[in-house]
């Protein structure tokens, strides 16, 4: 410093006053919040007691003439912040400087779903100065049992906006930023760079690799959580000297078929709540510098058994393509990386899978056609190949439950069922003149392949339904392989039935 020794204190006072003035102006513009600029000359002032004088006013939004003369440590928190966060400020293991770091810090939360809900709420409540929320979806009623940041009133609203609204309602003194587009290779690094810590609250493998790679490229610590069913996992990636990234642990992506999703596998609402809350905790630890972050450790949570279990993880791999000694995935190359190709799946989320066309169109009928045929074909057999949990919610009257997961186990039963239906039809046919329905059935089967090669009995019509019409096609194809070649698929499954035939049929 060029100042003469005697002028140092005066200079310090002047800078403090200037800082307070700027702070007040900033607060007036943006509302009450933590100062983005670090306190000036904090180190030099640390031991000095401020002169007694007029205490400044209560509301920090009001411009103050002098420095906060009570803030001897230059933590920079204002009176409102001290009141609001007092319970964690007075905590011995946390304290005012940790709170100040939190208030100056920022977190990007990717996903405003089951994990992101509690994470965002707790981080906002704890006073993280700037919270960014990324999500491209809108709130659905089936989200709310676990995505507790949203409300009935925000169904249909953008999740990021709904979540931001809830965070602001909880704490109006922080900045909440929304990003309404999905995280993409094109925007990931630039977005991640704007925040100190990233919370992965996403719900699919390609996005998880993308977030991890972006954090490696941008040099940000990543709090990663996941939950499905009654299980959860939590760890911190890309942290410190030797913390691994997601790719260090899983250099090769799992096959798409091995990735259970909440929409298919189900999830107990509290489970992502537990994990998302723990993610907020890890983010608070990282920002405040308090505690041991969960780097190189994986917390495995078995909520059904009530078991929390932490296991030791490998260090960063020097050969890792994202965070190793010579990474091939960098800020420059990441935007053109094909995550869908790497993981074999698009960054789909809670949305329904794409309707597929796996078997010839002539082997499929619409729900309306199914309704007509079931009414006219008393011997028809209807197979429902959904899992038991879904079949138990609702199924069409008379449907035979043959879950696709173990479909081959049911083939014998299906054959018996067909034989019984055929025998019943034959008996009825002998007892009376051929009923009109029988003729109708013959007509209906003209456009199908009749599987009864032996020609003894016409096979009773066989229809296969599932939730949306994908597994049912696979079941029809499997039946064909097994010699039951006249099965017909119902396009769009029970969901289409609910939409097109019976509006009282539940959707789930």
């Amino acid at each position: 410093m060029s100042s003469p020794p005697g002028a140092l204190e005066q200079e310090l006072e002047r800078l403090r006053a200037q800082n307070a003035q700027l702070q007040a102006e900033l607060d007036a513009v943006r509302g009450v919040q933590a100062g983005a600029a670090p306190p000036v000359a904090a180190a030099a002032a640390a031991q000095e007691e401020p002169p007694a004088g007029a205490a400044n006013g209560a509301a920090c939004c009001r411009p103050v003439a002098a420095a906060r003369d009570w803030d001897g440590l230059q933590h920079g928190l204002d009176k409102d912040q001290i009141a609001r966060y007092s319970r964690q400020i007075i905590l011995h293991s946390f304290g005012v400087q940790a709170q100040a770091r939190l208030c100056r810090g920022s977190v990007l939360i990717v996903g405003a779903g089951g994990l992101g809900s509690p994470a965002a709420l707790y981080l906002a409540a704890a006073g993280v100065g700037r919270v960014g929320i990324v999500d491209r979806d809108t709130v659905e009623l089936s989200n709310i049992h676990r995505q507790v940041i949203h409300k009935e009133a925000t169904v249909g609203m953008h999740k990021a906006l709904s979540a931001a609204e809830a965070c602001r309602a909880l704490n109006s003194s922080i900045q909440v930023e929304t990003h309404l587009e999905a995280l993409t290779p094109a925007n990931a690094v630039q977005l991640v760079r704007q925040y100190d810590v990233v919370v992965d609250a996403s719900d699919n493998a390609p996005t998880r690799y993308l977030i991890s790679d972006a954090c490696c490229a941008a040099g940000r610590s990543l709090v990663s959580g996941a939950a499905i069913g009654t299980d959860g996992q939590l760890t911190v990636y890309c942290h410190g000297e030797d913390g691994p990234c997601y790719r260090c642990l899983f250099p090769e992506a799992p096959a798409a078929g091995n990735c259970a999703r909440c929409v298919d596998a189900g999830v107990l609402g509290v489970v992502p709540g537990v994990i998302g809350t723990l993610q907020a905790l890890e983010a608070v630890k990282l920002l405040s510098g308090v505690g041991d972050p969960l780097s190189r450790r994986l917390l495995v949570v078995d909520c059904a058994a009530g078991r929390f279990h932490s296991v030791k993880l490998r260090a960063r791999s020097p050969n890792c393509v994202a965070c190793g000694a010579a990474p091939s995935i960098t800020t420059a190359s990441l935007p053109s990386y094909d995550y869908a190709a790497f993981t074999g799946q698009a960054a789909a989320n809670d949305a329904a899978p794409q309707p597929l066309q796996l078997i010839p169109r002539e082997e499929r009928i619409t729900p309306a056609e199914l309704q007509r045929r079931l009414a006219s074909q008393p011997t028809a057999v209807l197979l429902d190949v959904r899992p038991a949990e879904q079949f138990n919610i609702c199924h069409l009257p008379g449907a035979v439950h043959t879950p696709f997961k173990h479909f081959d186990r049911y083939v014998e039963a299906i054959q018996e069922r067909l034989a019984a239906a055929a025998a019943g039809a034959a008996a009825a046919g002998q007892a009376a003149a051929p009923p009109a329905a029988e003729q109708q059935q013959q007509q209906d089967q003209q456009d199908q392949q009749n599987g009864s090669a032996d020609g003894l009995q016409p096979q009773p019509p066989l229809y296969v339904v599932c939730r949306r019409g994908n597994d049912s096609q696979r079941a029809v194809a499997r039946l064909r392989q097994l010699g039951i070649s006249h099965a017909v698929d119902v396009v769009g499954g029970v969901e289409a039935w609910a939409r097109e035939v019976d509006p009282s049929f539940p959707l789930y």
Binding site: G111, G113, G114, L115, G116, A201, S202, D203, N204, A205, R208, G225, A226, A227, I228, D231, G232, Q233, L249, F250, P251, E252, A253, P254, A255, N258, C259, A260, R261, C262, A265, V267, P272, G276, L298, V300, D302, A305, H309, S310, V311, K312, L313, R314
Partner: protein, 88 residues
């Protein structure tokens, strides 16, 4: 993962050791596949190792720190297989 093993989360097993040598994780894994797995082996192993997305632990430590497939398993040791989760 337990879905592949008849919904059992933990199994205590006496794994026979071939030619009196030391049991490795590779052998324990193959034994589990042949003796404990109830369905869809492709969801457990790929080639002679675990399929991508499965973390292997020996006594709660990442097997990468103990020698991976060649990690030695002794009487009373616990080998754990964890599928990485993606849901949220």
């Amino acid at each position: 993962m337990e879905l592949l093993f008849g919904n059992q989360k933990t199994v205590e097993a006496d794994i026979p050791v071939s030619n009196g040598g030391q049991l490795t994780v590779a052998e324990a894994m193959a034994w589990a596949r042949d003796n404990l797995l109830t369905e869809r082996p492709e969801l457990f192993m790929k080639g002679s190792s675990v399929r991508p997305g499965v973390l292997v632990l020996v006594n709660d430590t990442d097997w990468e720190l103990c020698g991976e497939l060649e990690a030695e398993v002794a009487e009373g040791d616990r080998v754990t297989f964890i599928s990485t989760l993606h849901g949220g």
